[in-house]
Symmetry: C2
Subunit: 202 residues, 2 copies
């Protein structure tokens, strides 16, 4: 059911309800269950419907797994109504580097390039909603500096919402987040030999 709009407590932070309502959120979807990225892309639908510029950054090697979402958000971003969608993926070389780097090169360097662009976009307030898809992995693997990422996200200007997805989100990121949801696997068809299938897994 939708929340009824009654907060459990009113904070003593000197802000009006409106100021709190408009507070930019740092959201994390983590855990071993399904739905972390899927829910982030669902959130992108809401941002698009608000007319927001939405930026998606995919930190995955294979570009295969989000083709449905990319196609859908591409159609939406090009529609006459709603906001815009910029889709960037690491697997094929980041779009702003296209042709200038080897897409099959060092993945740690590619992750760092992706984060550097996000940092520039946050400073420039390029988007209202950022989907940082599976960015927990380069954090977990030490390819990105957790403290630097968390500080940059905490100190981002304006009213930019950020959603980070992936397993094993670092504690410092969870501490900094306004909203954390853990997706827990209760039952999955792969447990009984089912393979991933079209339209469900990608």
């Amino acid at each position: 059911m939708p929340p009824q709009g009654q907060p459990e407590q009113v904070p003593d932070d000197g802000l009006s309800t409106r100021q709190r309502r408009d507070r930019p959120l740092l959201i994390v979807h983590t855990g071993d269950g399904k739905g972390k990225s899927t829910a982030a892309f669902g959130l992108a639908l809401r941002g698009w419907a608000q007319g927001w510029p939405v930026g998606v950054f995919q930190f995955v090697k294979s570009a295969k797994w989000r083709i449905g979402e990319e196609q859908a958000l591409g159609v939406l971003g090009a529609a006459e109504q709603g906001g815009t969608v910029a889709w960037h993926k690491m697997g094929s070389g980041w779009s702003w580097l296209q042709g200038r780097v080897d897409p099959h090169g060092d993945p740690a360097a590619a992750a760092a390039e992706g984060w550097a662009q996000i940092r520039r976009d946050l400073a420039a307030e390029t988007y209202r909603l950022y989907v940082l898809d599976e960015m927990t992995y380069p954090l977990d693997w030490g390819w990105l500096d957790v403290d630097e990422v968390v500080t940059t996200l905490r100190e981002r200007p304006g009213r930019q919402h950020v959603v980070v997805t992936g397993r094993r989100a670092p504690a410092a990121l969870l501490d900094a987040a306004d909203l954390v949801t853990e997706m827990t696997k209760v039952r999955h068809p792969m447990d009984t030999g089912q393979k991933g299938q079209r339209g469900i897994e990608w």
Copy 2:
């Protein structure tokens, strides 16, 4: 990370990998956390991208909370590429009953009307993917018969995928499901007095 396609065990069910791969899934998103419906609508993007007819049935009183998703899936369903989207909501009277019933009438009867239509659509194989949004509530409240719903879902013909969302999913539904994800709230801004906001909550 995407699943690597290696099932944990191979079942002794006499089915080929392909037959198992194409098995229609009953999926439940439950728990007290956010992302249950959002992930279901994200899944609808994948189904749409496969060219599937997608049917959404919203079991909520207020139509306010999914306007972003409804707008987005409306644009997608009308696009030249991808599948179709039929969006039905209980709050304003189900579309197939429009003008013939009082949308502000008995909500238990309205829920039963919704389920009766889903049953007809399952029998006719109208859609490839069904999003039964927040249908756990009429089940929990006794407005729908759990055994009858579960039996109908279990025995649905063809290759129809079904996603049911909402808190307090009945045990019989969880038992029947192929894939269950529990969304757990780790931290939510409303805990500290934050109210819901545009583009995030709706």
